[in-house]
Point group: C2
Chain length 336, copies 2
Amino acid sequence: MSQPIDIAVIGATGTVGETLVQILDECDFPVGTLHLLASNESAGSGVMFRSKSLRVREVDSFDFSKVKLAFFAAGPAVTRSFAPRAQAAGCAVIDLSGGLPAEQAPAVVPEANPAVLDNLKAPLQLSSPSAAAIALAVTLAPLKGLLELERINVTACLAVSAQGREAVNELARQTAELLNARPLEPRFFDRQMAFNLLAQVGASDAEGHGVLERRLVSELREVLGLPSLKISVSCVQVPVFFGDSYSVSVQSRTPVDLAAVNAALEAADSIELVEEGDYPTPVGDAVGQDVVYVGRVRGGIDEAEQLNLWLTTDNVRKGAALNAVQLAQLLIKGLV
Amino acid sequence: MSQPIDIAVIGATGTVGETLVQILDECDFPVGTLHLLASNESAGSGVMFRSKSLRVREVDSFDFSKVKLAFFAAGPAVTRSFAPRAQAAGCAVIDLSGGLPAEQAPAVVPEANPAVLDNLKAPLQLSSPSAAAIALAVTLAPLKGLLELERINVTACLAVSAQGREAVNELARQTAELLNARPLEPRFFDRQMAFNLLAQVGASDAEGHGVLERRLVSELREVLGLPSLKISVSCVQVPVFFGDSYSVSVQSRTPVDLAAVNAALEAADSIELVEEGDYPTPVGDAVGQDVVYVGRVRGGIDEAEQLNLWLTTDNVRKGAALNAVQLAQLLIKGLV
């Protein structure tokens, strides 16, 4: 086992931060001292790690020279405030918030572009991309040699947990009120989320594209190494607690060999290919798992150049926390 | 007002049939005698129509020479069994089940291809297409002159009511069981539908395409008069009771003029264009309404030839019953 390294997790009380600490606990990652940090409101609570209760401290007063690696699992504003401080203290940064520009912190998915790490200069800064980019990159990376990728169309059906614990509670509360025929008073969402679909997730820009949609396009191009890949994406908030799903239609410039596609997906370690005729669901398959589930692998109707797929993955685990830990596992050789 | 005509509704006790009778009741359609028909199990119940209770009779023993027009709103097998009998009796047929081949009963959406009716020969037979084809045809017909349509990508997020009343009850029952932490026992669906997405709706063929997916492709090509239009479609069953939604990405051969697209959608009678920055939802907007709601009208990211849209519509009303009644309104000039 490698020499233990001291680590900070910023945003340790959020859904992603909590899962990240769990994964560090479960796997044989060589953790020395673990510092759990959060904003003022969440500081003070205790979190279990390797049979000890660790106190969550305020990030404001943290001395980053105490650690060699910091995971930023709070919002992008928190990353932008504190990552420079971590960097100045010589601490490597893995950002899960999308708060750092690509030129400063390249987006990496270990299954797709691990070679980026070979050319990184200290102090190391990496972005662990959005759940959507991770799911798509994990799935498309093993197909890059088989398809001449021209265009990818994605409808991302996002679970409410991506918006944090409050969103999860709100979906449960709204559902209970509706089932009990009580008047619905939306709080977290601006309208009814239960038994409904919201066609916009988060803020959008003047051209109508969501921040998440733009983020997916730039991250996926970067991680796949295809800067001019055409991508259309629509994010939809669905009444599902955990587990994101993606309806994906890929255009290749040449006919798609479905048998070869199935074989490549079957061979990929981070993919669970669901047998023909069946399909994976977020609740029944993805939640709590470390892989991307892929199903409904099929061609186009009257079109040999098309490939259609259905993906589902645990947005908090494989779509966020686990990818960050995998990045850390690749990084630690340079840190210890 | 036109001379009243005698009408039969087959499948009068189903979700679509019931709504069809409601719409005939509400609008000034010149109904003479209305015969409500159903299979053995549902026959005998009473349905209100224009302040009278009408008894639902068995379709098996019905004499189609009593009526001039029959709506087939039961399953495709029922249509295939009884439409020939209706036709032999000189009765016009409007099929809502997808049970008749296109060469026998052309698919018509009044907003898209009403001219088909000009060349029809008696006995008239028409198909009122699937909810998905209706929503897309209504939306794309006014854009045909503005876009050089090359490809349409659709993820259809379908409400459970498309599968009938049992499916609606099952979603409610599953949700209540989960909220009360009772063990889930799926009955109508083969797995958990509450807080989950099912990536396949109904049967699929050897190539993995769903029957509904194939139906959408052929109907949309037919109704838009674009037999070689490239269409990719994935149907997903979502935990929504009523109201289908469609995430649509359109490729044009030429740059898309978004202002002209917005103006054309705004001008269309059967479309409610939701203002920029907002978006329609099935529950909040579409349910109970006679229009297709369109929102999130935006271009591509780095691509001038792309148009993205979000549609939502009442699958039972605008997506089925209302279209059939609109077809009848076009037909009756030839029937009386």
